[in-house]
């Protein structure tokens, strides 16, 4: 269970309150697709992603950026239970979308950079530390359903968890 001090909770709310999802979402996803071009593998149906200009101007990329960034809202509003909040999203990404969970960390780091660029010096080292702790928890929650098979977990959770512990 992750512990949040009152100061950390209010820092996260304050940062998120100043983020415009409609602006930051597209910027962050576009930047991921440019800086880590192999991530384009997930967006074959999005049309032209052949150049940075094409990516940043692509309306499907922008729309998807808003969706992805918007999902963070659930975590901000449920900081006491991020793991449960992202359970079904994690399952979807693992079992239907087949997204490598390392991408969640990549997106979190790029999002942090985009937010830093927007906020400037007001994104202090201390605020960055709290924000990155929050990102780390979100990333872990998004990866949480990858290591346990759904059927196995339903049938014998204790055995499944024990196997997972041994496999790392």
């Amino acid at each position: 269970m992750v512990e949040w001090t009152d100061a950390e909770k209010s820092t996260i709310s304050a940062v998120w309150g100043k983020v415009d999802i409609n602006e930051v979402g597209p910027l962050a996803l576009g930047r991921v697709l440019i800086v880590y071009p192999w991530t384009q593998r997930y967006f074959g149906s999005f049309g032209d992603v052949s150049t940075p200009a094409a990516i940043m101007g692509n309306p499907k990329v922008a729309a998807h950026g808003k969706i992805v960034c918007g999902a963070l809202d659930k975590a901000v509003k449920n900081m006491g239970n991020i793991l449960a909040t992202y359970k079904s999203l994690s399952e979807t990404h693992a079992n239907k979308l087949f997204v490598d969970p390392d991408n969640f960390r990549v997106l979190a780091d790029v999002l942090t950079i985009v937010i830093a660029a927007k906020f400037g010096a007001s994104f202090t080292p201390e605020i960055q530390a709290t924000w990155q702790k929050f990102m780390k928890v979100v990333v872990a929650a998004m990866g949480s359903r990858y290591y346990i098979g759904i059927l196995e977990y339903q049938q014998a959770p204790e055995i499944c968890l024990a196997n997972a512990a041994f496999s790392h």
Binding site: R31, I34, V35, I55, A116, A117, F123, P125, A129
Partner: protein, 143 residues
């Protein structure tokens, strides 16, 4: 992921723009790393004050950024150019090379803060590749 001719020229051009503020960027990036990734403090337990604005932190951040600036001019042979520093990190300092990625991330965050319009996605990818190649060169002599 080797550095292309274009990567090298983008990095050189960007470094030309930031060179006046390199010390400040280095100091801040290093301070951010110690604050946001507290496990990195273990290498500096001999310093009394590890807060972002402290003297030793600012000084050391400047030293690191100076070495990175020199490496910009050595991009054609980073392994050779970083050889002595690699041996130092491997055998004297014994810094786990996983930490190079952490510092690189904090350098990118600091660059985004100080140069929001110059740190475009195209510059970001070239600088990220450069820092990754530099990190690999710095880890080259470890084993």
């Amino acid at each position: 992921m080797s550095l292309t001719v274009k990567d090298k020229s983008v990095v050189k051009a960007f470094w030309g723009k930031i060179s006046g503020k390199a010390d400040v960027v280095g100091a801040e990036a290093f301070g951010r790393m110690l604050t946001a990734y507290p496990q990195t403090k273990t290498y500096f337990s001999h310093w009394a004050d590890l807060s972002p604005g402290s003297g030793p932190v600012k000084n050391h951040g400047g030293i690191i950024m100076g070495a990175i600036g020199k490496a910009v001019g050595l991009m054609d042979d980073l392994v050779g150019g970083m050889s002595a520093l690699s041996e130092r990190h491997a055998f004297n300092l014994r810094v786990d090379p996983g930490n190079f990625k952490i510092l690189s991330h904090n350098i990118l965050v600091t660059l985004a803060i100080h140069f929001p319009s110059e740190f475009t996605p195209e510059v970001h990818i070239a600088v990220d590749k450069f820092l990754a190649a530099l990190s690999a060169a710095l880890a080259d002599k470890y084993r």
